[in-house]
Structures are given as C-alpha cells and as structure tokens.
C-alpha cells in the first residue's frame, strides 16, 4: 500500500522550501493560507505574507502589481474562487499582462465533495486554458505536487496549479524526473493508451493494474502539465496504439479529454474515450462515492475501457 499524504501539506512544505531559496517568493491569502497548507508560512516569513480577507478578485490584481515589482506571488485558495470567480482578473491582470504570478486552486475537482457545486472545481482547466501563456499543472501525487511547486516558481510567467484535498497515495520515488510540459509514461503497453491527470491519476493507475490482470496491455501516461501539453506524447500514442482513454475529475468539456481530442483530430485521428463529468452540476456526498457515481473508480474505469476496446 502506498503511503498517503495530504496534498496541501506537500504543497505548503514545497512553498516554504521555495521561499527559503528565493527571497522574491511572497504569499497572498484571501483568508485562505491556513486552509491551503500554508499555516506556517506567515510564522516563518511574516514580512512576505499578505492577508487580504475574502476578496479573490482584488487579490489577483494585487498579485499582478506585486509581480511588476519583481516579486513572485503565490496565491492559494479554494479552486473555484481563484479561477471561475476572478476569471477576468486572471485573464487580464495575469494573462494579458503576462505577470509572474502563481495561482493555486486547492480542494479542486470534486474533493470538496459534500459542499456541493459552488465548491467543486470541474471547469477550471477549461476556463484557464483559454488564457494565452498560462501554464497549467495538475500533478497526481504528493511527490509531483512538490516538484510542480518548484517548477512553477522557476518558470517565468503566470501559472495555475491545481491540487486536491483528501490524502493521496505516493506514486513516485523522490528522484522522479519531472519536467513541466513533459508527460510521464508510468508504464509501457500496446493495447490502449490511458492518460490520467491530477486527483484521479491514482484511479487510472489502479485501473491499469486491473486491465493488466485481464491481459490488456496499457500504456499509462501521467499528464501532469495540461498547458503546454505534451503533444508529442499524445501523438505517439495515437500513432502507435490508436486507442486513447482519458481520465479526469473535470467536465469532459474543455479538460484533458478535449485537449487530447483537439490534437488528435487535427494531426493523427485516433479512437478516444473521455472519462469525466458530463454536462450537469455534480452531486454532493462522500468523495469516493461521488467518484463512483461518475465512473471514476478503478474498476469502473477498467470496465469502461474494456467496453471501449470491444466496440471497435
């Protein structure tokens, strides 16, 4: 059994490491630092932590202005409130102004399970990827969350990092080669390419194991960067396998599945099955049960893939 770690803890520790190395790193809070794994940041760096209260639109603007003076602002809060709510500020103040600000949507996807659709974030990738020049990171385990934090701090330009809420399994060794924009082939295979991202990457890993037990050979890909996405890796799967399944805790519209389909349909058509949330507001309830309701548990993903492979 893999070790389980709180993604926010991994995130917070990495931000502190980054701030120790780089004096320009500052943290902005919309009454949100403590809930984002950053409770220790103001204790360690009182001069570099700015509290704003619950005003996400304003915080994005302040972050943009701070970035013009050479600071690297990190702003973490509940995912819908840093993406959908201040979308125009994200677009204009960070994207159009091309400012070096790192926005972090935590408790993303359905991980704010019983709190309902106001607190779910299953549209953030669809929204933010329309903004030119914004890097989108969607790591799927605590190790790559840490690596994502260091990568986004090193990268000059606006970034959106999404992480979940419940403890998640460690999938990688500490020395995994993580490069933004380069997907990780977790397992080679020839019958189907299974591409997962973010909070449900571990579910895709579980599905791949079940499929292998049934004699189906799976190329398992962790697409931890959704923008700029690893086009070559997607096209390689299209060319070599021709059957691709995407798994994401996000609307099918506009997320990983759409990204893969946009690339393949224009450059190398492949059969694609997108597993995610349909065109409705998701329900509320315990997290694992919600994932089951939307077919995102490993056995369900496995069944969907078998049906997909059987309907050629």
């Amino acid at each position: 059994m893999n070790e389980l770690i709180d993604p926010r803890k991994a995130f917070g520790e990495a931000v502190i490491e980054a701030a120790q190395k780089n004096p320009n790193v500052v943290v902005l809070s919309a009454d949100s630092s403590s809930g984002s794994g950053l409770a220790n940041f103001p204790k360690l760096f009182p001069e570099r932590h700015f509290e704003f209260g619950i005003m996400e639109q304003g915080v994005i603007g302040f972050a943009s202005g701070l970035a013009t003076t050479g600071k690297i602002p990190v702003f973490a809060a509940i995912a819908p409130f840093v993406t959908a709510r201040p979308f125009e500020m994200f677009k204009n103040d960070l994207g159009y102004m091309n400012q070096n600000v790192k926005v972090v949507g935590r408790c993303a996807g359905l991980t704010y399970d019983q709190l309902g659709s106001t607190h779910h974030s299953i549209d953030d990738v669809a929204l933010i990827r329309t903004i030119p020049g914004v890097m989108i990171l969607s790591p799927g385990d605590p190790v790559t969350i840490k690596k994502s934090v260091h990568a986004m701090i090193s990268h000059t330009g606006p970034c959106y990092l999404k992480i979940g809420n419940p403890k998640m399994p460690v999938l990688y060794p500490e020395d995994i080669d993580f490069q933004p924009g380069k997907g990780i082939v977790m397992q080679e295979g020839k019958d189907v390419a299974l591409i997962g991202t973010g909070t449900v990457l571990s579910k895709a890993v579980g599905a791949a194991k079940l499929l292998e037990q049934k004699g189906i050979s799976v190329r398992l890909i962790d697409m931890h960067t959704l923008k700029p996405v690893d086009r070559e890796l997607i096209l390689k799967a299209a060319r070599e396998i021709g059957k691709i399944v995407t798994v994401e805790e996000h609307f099918i519209a506009g997320g990983l599945g759409s990204i893969v389909a946009e690339i393949c349909s224009q450059e190398f058509p492949a059969r694609i099955k997108m597993i995610g949330i349909g065109d409705f507001f998701a329900s509320n309830g315990p997290y694992e049960q919600l994932l089951m309701k939307y077919g995102l548990q490993p056995d369900q993903i496995c069944e969907t893939i078998i049906r997909f492979l059987n309907t050629e």
């Binding site: 209260g53 005003m55 639109q57 103040d93």
Partner: protein, 288 residues
C-alpha cells in the same frame, strides 16, 4: 507655485488636447469625453509630479501611473507622446491594424504604459500590488492611479480600497475624474456612489476634493501627499467632460465621439481660442 511654471503647464495641456484631436483624426472616433476631462491631471503628473525618465521607461525606481479607466487612453497616449516616450507620428496610427496604441492601453506595445486596462475596476488592485511591492523593498517610488467616477460602481474597486487601507499604502495616490457623466446618463442617476468623500473616508482613505482643471491645485495637493501618514490618498477631481470643446463640454453624447468634419473644424477653432487666452495671459505675465 510659480505662475510662469503653471502657464507653461497650461500650454502643455493645450498640446495634449491637440494630440487628442490628432488621434481622433487618425482613428475617426474615440473615447474623447473622459480623456479631455483628465488632461490637466495627466499634464501635472507627466510634466511635474512623476519621477520618470522617458529615456529609460523601465527604470526600476520610477513612479508608476496606472490608468484604471483604460478607455481614457487618448489622454495617456497624448501625454506620453508629449513627454517624449515615443515619436508623435505613432499617434497617427490610432485605429490602424496592429497599432501600438489600441483602444485600451497595452504595456507590451508602448513604452511608458504600466498596465493593461480597459475592463473597469482592475487598476486600483494592480496599483495596490505595486505600492505593496515598493513598501516591501523600501523603495521611494509612488503609485498614481486615475479612475473614472462611473467606474466606482465596480465592486472590485472597493475590495482594493479596503486592502490598500488595511496595508497602509500611503505611497498610493489616486485621482477620481469626477466628470459626473457615464454612457447612460448622469452618474448620480445611473448608480450613485455619492457622497464620494465620505465613502472613501469610511474605507480608511485620506480624501481631498479639488477642481480637476486647476493645475496649481493638482500639483499643490499631490505635493502634500500622503495627506495622512499610513493612509492611501485620494483626490476627487471635479471636472467637465469633454473639457475644451465648446460643442461637447458636459454633454453625454461625446463620451465616445465619432467626429464629423464640421465638429473637427470647430474643435480646432476652440483650441485656438484657448491658445489665444494663454498668449494673453503670457503677455500680462511679461508686463507684470
């Protein structure tokens, strides 16, 4: 302030108004009303108050000016051109494909522009972040903002207002161009945020109200900023929309002006009248 200096600035303001007409001639139309109402404010800033260097527009210690009401860009372009940030021939490209002076300012296209505004209600937060960064660096640089009075209905302004006060940003100096008109009518009828002075004071700001066309008053007040230590300063500048054009002053329909040849001719004559008044003032100065 020395009256000769003031007169010189008034001539500069006239040149900036002429630059605005030049832009309208090139683009055939533009948001002229709010540009003309803030000419004196931008003249005072760019020719007296801002610590800037047109030769080195990204000098790290420079004061910043954020045009929150980005549709007033005609006055920004006119002031920057007059101050020498770029050649005035750029003004003739207004409205052209790929022009460096779009209908709302773009910092990546033109030296001297500090932020990409146009969507209302963004500038004060951006400026607040700049001011916070300067505080952190113990930099002497100050941040100036110009907002429209109609713009004050954007909720994000009041988020920024509270935060600037909470973070004690006394290096932030804001103008409200209170020309009292917005597209649909008088601001107090569309969505009133009056009394502005009391509202801003209640958000923790230090407030003054001035005549926004009085160069001496603009400069004298900014030189006293921060009005109170530890508080951001706001100057409510009472102005006249489309100031300087006899046929358009205070009229709603010139918020966005699609100039007819007759109107343009009249506008040029109006500015000649202003020039003659300034010449007369100059002669009197010489005699005294």
């Amino acid at each position: 302030m020395d009256s000769k200096e003031i007169l010189k600035l008034e001539y500069t303001a006239l040149n900036i108004r002429r630059n605005i007409l030049r832009l309208i001639r090139a683009g055939e139309a533009g948001h002229v009303g709010g540009a003309l109402s803030s000419v004196e404010i931008l003249t005072a800033l760019y020719f007296n108050l801002l610590r800037i260097n047109p030769e080195d527009p990204t000098w790290s210690q420079r004061d910043r000016f954020v045009l929150s009401a980005g549709h007033k860009c005609l006055v920004l372009y006119s002031a920057l051109a007059e101050r020498g940030f770029f050649d005035k021939s750029v003004l003739d490209t207004y409205g052209a494909l790929d022009s460096h002076i779009p209908g709302h300012p773009n910092m990546h296209k033109l030296p001297g522009v500090e932020s990409n505004t146009g969507a209302l209600g963004h500038g004060l937060s951006i400026a607040g972040g700049m001011a916070l960064g300067f505080k952190l660096d113990k930099s002497p640089a100050r941040v100036f903002v110009l907002m429209g009075d109609g713009e004050l209905a954007e909720g994000s302004i009041w988020e920024a207002a509270a935060a600037a006060s909470m973070h004690k940003l006394d290096n932030l100096i804001v103008f409200v161009d209170r020309n009292r008109l917005q597209i649909s009518g008088p601001t107090i009828e569309v969505m009133s945020y009056e009394p502005l002075d009391e509202r801003w004071r209640s958000f923790g700001w230090s407030v003054r109200t001035i005549n926004g066309h009085d160069m001496n008053s603009i400069i004298a007040n900014v030189k006293q900023a921060p009005f109170e230590k530890g508080k951001p300063s706001i100057i409510i500048a009472d102005t006249i929309k489309s100031k300087g054009l006899s046929f358009a002053e205070g009229k709603l329909s010139y918020h966005y002006w699609k100039a007819t040849p007759e109107e343009m001719k009249q506008a040029e004559l109006d500015l000649e009248v202003i020039e003659n008044q300034l010449k007369e003032k100059y002669s009197k100065e010489q005699q005294s």
